[in-house]
């Protein structure tokens, strides 16, 4: 064998002009792609901001954030966002009451108790569940969950907060389960062995060692779930009704911030009217909420980071 590897490598390299060019060009192309998403974000935020400012030229900011009546249509419109916020929060609280316990319990099962075989089957199914279009969940809430709930609470109207709240929770379960499971699986086995060797049962290991060790990831998954519930649109637009109400009664019809935006963009308001601009102000409020949640989740991940 008279092959000189060194020579071959030298020859190949010097011949590849294209390679040299792409070596230089590639970072620039990647940079452009990255800039596109940054610019889009800036653009959207700016548009949102401009239109929101237009809205606040017509409606007082104080009235907007403290008003308890949301009545954008008709003669005497009133833009107090609290009823929409209360609607959104009702949905979020119901959803998290469903998603956190079930999601966390599924994660504990998958990470600590399931055999590798079962995990291999269940995890992909969970991820498929996360891919179901939300409109499907929406009519699932309206045509299946609401009638079922009506059997229990006969006075329940067709549109109510409870049913879409539960369904939003169901939608979020896979997300919490999957992210929490990731966090728990990355807890080193050393720690489980240490705890088992002291006579802990598997449940004690799961709840007293693994969950605390994975807490930052678990809480981050909760916060992401909350921000998902706040931003969820289709399910509430379909099944929660369109009655902005400052109320804690979850059996009534309500409207969320997202639900309102859908209603208006479907053509309930003429372009340029105050009502039209109000969706930007509501959108801005939503944006602030989810931004705060994301910041919170980042803070929590850093604050509770367990080093191992």
């Amino acid at each position: 064998m008279a092959v000189n590897v060194k020579d071959m490598m030298k020859k190949n390299k010097s011949n590849r002009l294209l390679l040299r060019f792409s070596e230089k060009a590639a970072p620039t192309i990647f940079l452009l792609c990255a800039i596109i998403s940054v610019l889009t974000t800036i653009g959207i935020t700016l548009t949102l901001l401009m239109e929101t400012i237009t809205f606040f030229n017509r409606v007082s900011f104080i009235d907007f954030i403290t008003g308890t009546k949301w009545w954008p249509f008709g003669e005497n419109p009133s833009f107090g966002i609290l009823p929409l916020i209360s609607g959104t929060l009702s949905i979020t609280v119901i959803a998290m009451a469903v998603a956190i316990p079930i999601g966390l319990a599924s994660a504990v099962y998958l990470s600590e108790f399931a055999s590798p075989h079962i995990r291999k089957i269940v995890k992909p199914i969970l991820e498929i569940l996360a891919g179901i279009p939300t409109i499907v969940y929406g009519f699932f809430a309206l045509t299946f969950v609401t009638p079922m709930l009506q059997n229990v609470i006969p006075s329940l109207p067709v549109f109510n907060a409870l049913s879409p709240g539960i369904v939003v929770g169901v939608m979020i379960i896979p997300m919490i389960a999957s992210l929490s499971e990731d966090a728990m699986s990355s807890v080193p086995n050393d720690m489980r062995e240490g705890a088992l060797a002291m006579g802990s049962t598997r449940l004690e290991v799961a709840l007293k060692v693994v969950v605390p060790a994975a807490l930052s990831g678990i809480i981050a998954s909760f916060v992401l779930g909350i921000s998902r519930a706040i931003g969820e649109t289709m399910i509430v637009a379909v099944a929660a009704g369109a009655t902005p109400k400052l109320s804690l009664d979850v059996t009534e019809s309500i409207q969320t911030m997202t639900g309102y935006i859908v209603q208006v963009t479907l053509g309930d308001a003429s372009y340029g009217s105050t009502t039209y601009y109000s969706i930007y102000a509501v959108g801005m409020t939503l944006f602030v909420f989810t931004l705060l949640m994301n910041l919170l989740s980042q803070y929590i991940s850093r604050r509770f980071k367990e080093e191992y």
Partner: protein, 274 residues
């Protein structure tokens, strides 16, 4: 198999445990114990008694089954799904593999210190208090006492008493390992199994752990797996030499090192292989 060691292996029917002949009380009695991972045999007809309040060292080259053996003593080996066993191991005259024997009870009596320090990602205090807490001790005052006593027992108290609430990961490797020993002492086991407890530590930390082992044997029976023959010679009373899953020789440490009966033991301790 030409040695005297092999001829000692008189097959004994399962679960019948004979009282140890003559010398001090034995805490473990291992009879004809074999173990497989899937189809690979890791231990073959292991048979000897482990005396109480002694340090018993398990030596042998890598892959000889010594870690597997020590993990069988507290049934940690069962965490490997494919494991199969035959023969018996009795702890205080009770067969530990009998269905009636609760594994949690066994592991409460038999503590373990691992090769790599594995404190929990909690404070120093919480690490030590973990064991007592899961076994139902909740009173703060009692826990405080246990934590102090255990940390003193592990010769760590003076170094950490002012920062009990700090995360255990802030400790050095040697301190972490002593913390793991303290964590183990907190539930007052009878036996402490140590699986190469100093292999990840520097010489000074190693010396501290060895010193500690000497002190601990007054109250505990210790089984220690080690790669380091000098360590075995320094700290143990009895030594078992494992090779390819078999016990080649088991005797008093000074005897085994000064006057090995088996050629393979001699080759190993004189550094001809392993």
């Amino acid at each position: 198999m030409n040695s005297a060691a092999k001829t000692n292996h008189v097959p004994v029917p399962n679960t019948t445990v004979k009282p140890n002949s003559g010398d001090s009380k034995s805490i473990y009695s291992i009879q004809n114990f074999s173990l497989w991972y899937g189809n690979d045999q890791a231990l073959q007809d292991v048979q000897f008694d482990i005396p109480a309040n002694n340090v018993t060292a398990i030596i042998g080259p890598s892959g000889c089954g010594k870690s597997t053996f020590i993990k069988a003593l507290n049934r940690m080996v069962e965490l490997v799904a494919s494991v199969k066993m035959s023969g018996s191991i009795s702890y205080n005259r009770k067969d530990i593999f009998s269905p009636k024997y609760k594994v949690e009870e066994l592991r409460t009596n038999v503590g373990m210190v691992f090769q790599h320090p594995n404190p929990f990602p909690k404070s120093i205090y919480e690490n030590v208090a973990y064991g007592p807490k899961i076994h139902g001790i909740k009173k703060k005052k009692v826990l405080d006492e246990i934590v102090e006593k255990s940390l003193k027992g592990a010769a760590l108290w003076d170094e950490v008493k002012d920062r009990l609430q700090e995360n255990a990961f802030g400790l050095s490797g040697g301190q972490q390992q002593r913390l793991c020993i303290a964590r183990c002492l907190a539930i007052e086991p009878d036996v402490i199994l140590m699986d190469e407890p100093t292999s990840a530590l520097d010489p000074i930390s190693t010396a501290k752990i060895e010193e500690l082992v000497q002190k601990l044997k007054e109250d505990y029976s210790i089984v220690i797996v080690t790669h380091n023959m000098q360590q075995a010679a320094r700290i143990s009373d009895k030594t078992a030499f494992f090779l390819n899953g078999e016990v080649i020789e088991y005797s008093n440490t000074d005897e085994l090192f000064s006057n090995p009966k088996d050629k393979r033991t001699e080759d190993y301790i004189t550094g001809r292989f392993g």
